[in-house]
Amino acid sequence: MKKYFAVLASVLCLAGGSAAAHHSFSVFNMQTEINVTGTVKEVQWTNPHIWVWVDVSDAEGNVVTWGLEGMSPNYLARRGWERTTLKAGDEITVSLRPLNSGEPGGMFVQTTTPDGTVLGMGGAQRNSAD
């Protein structure tokens, strides 16, 4: 059991909805959802979509930076997210739909903050998945 790099495959049950305006999702494996745990390196609160970069370490201490694409900051800001909701240094576990290419990246699905807030692409919600 790798303590810092847990990858859990599961069948996607909830549709993502029309989360993105400007492209479809063919680069992502929309049938699979995995988790990565690591330290937020940077949050790019930018259009057309936010990007959350997470440094993930394996048991040997090797660090791989994962790039996670989210929804637009405009969309999220109207639904409870703020530019600093996630920030560099935060320790998080994120569920994501991985890139088909096998590169360390994917579509951000959701994470849960220490206070129990679920941050998903449908918004920030307490005590319920989006």
């Binding site: 909805g17 029309s18 989360a19 305006a21 492209h23 479809s24 259009n47 790039g67 637009s72 405009n74």
Partner: protein, 257 residues
């Protein structure tokens, strides 16, 4: 002797040019106080609207079936067979009618002689002239076409013509130069709006294609900036293959060369 003739010719040419320009372009007249007051008699479309009640992209109501002609059905199959995700992946806006179905809000502005739509997606603007001008006989092909509007009671009726070849009726379905779009917009109640959109194109469609959308007014929203090229890491290359740029995770991606 020559100078008066030259002056006369110059003046004549100037008059002809002025007349031609006047025929082609309507002149913006300064609104009067009565023009501004008349706006208060119209339904109030002002404010920020979003399709559906909550999440983006919803609010699609009923509508007719999309009925491409055999020729355009074949074109659609050919386009569907091409890999890649289309122009939007590279941040090119969809134009009409697609720009009206994005999961982002639209602000309506009402001024004398004009309704303006400030569209958040791709930071776009539609200009609907309600000053009585006619559609041009041979409009230039544009992403939004050229639009004129008139009030039919409490309903705004918008007619648009002249569309770029880079816009499509629906996914992978191109249009001909005969495409016309009619939108009827009305308030259902204080904070809900209905937009019925009808597309006719005798070359591309056997029947008019009608869709209906419901929008909700969000009085506590403002339109935000949306520069698609700011940090677009999705791309489709020349071969139609889509991908993601994961370079420079500490900063924005390098500019394309």
């Amino acid at each position: 002797m020559k100078q008066p003739i030259e002056t006369f010719v110059f003046a004549l040419v100037a008059i002809l040019f002025t007349t031609a320009a006047g025929a082609q372009w309507a002149v913006y007249e300064q609104p009067t106080a009565a023009d501004w007051a008349a706006l208060a008699e119209l339904p109030d479309f002002s404010g920020v609207w979003e399709r559906g009640g909550g999440g983006g992209g919803g609010g699609r109501g009923g509508g007719s079936a999309l009925s491409p002609t055999p020729e355009y059905a074949s074109l659609r199959e050919q386009l569907r067979a091409i890999p890649g995700e289309g122009q939007a992946t590279n941040c090119l806006p969809p134009g009409m009618p697609g720009i009206m179905t994005q999961p982002y809000p639209i602000e309506f502005l009402m001024t004398p002689g004009k309704v303006t739509m400030v569209i958040e997606a791709y930071t776009q603007v539609r200009h609907i002239f309600t000053d009585g001008r006619a559609l041009p006989a041979d409009p230039d092909p544009l992403f939004f076409g050229t639009s004129v509007g008139r009030w039919d009671g409490d309903t705004l009726v918008i007619e648009s013509a002249g569309f770029s070849d880079l816009v499509q009726i629906a996914a992978d379905l191109p249009h001909s130069d005969q495409m016309r779009i009619t939108e009827t917009i009305r308030l259902i109640d204080e904070n809900r709006m209905e937009i019925e959109t009808t597309i006719t194109d005798p070359a591309a469609l056997t029947e008019p294609y009608t869709t209906t959308a419901t929008l909700a007014r969000h009085r506590d929203w403002t339109i935000a900036e949306y520069i698609c090229q700011e940090n677009n890491r999705n791309f489709v290359d020349a071969a139609g293959q889509s991908g993601i740029i994961l370079d420079n995770p500490g900063g924005l991606p390098p500019l394309p060369n």
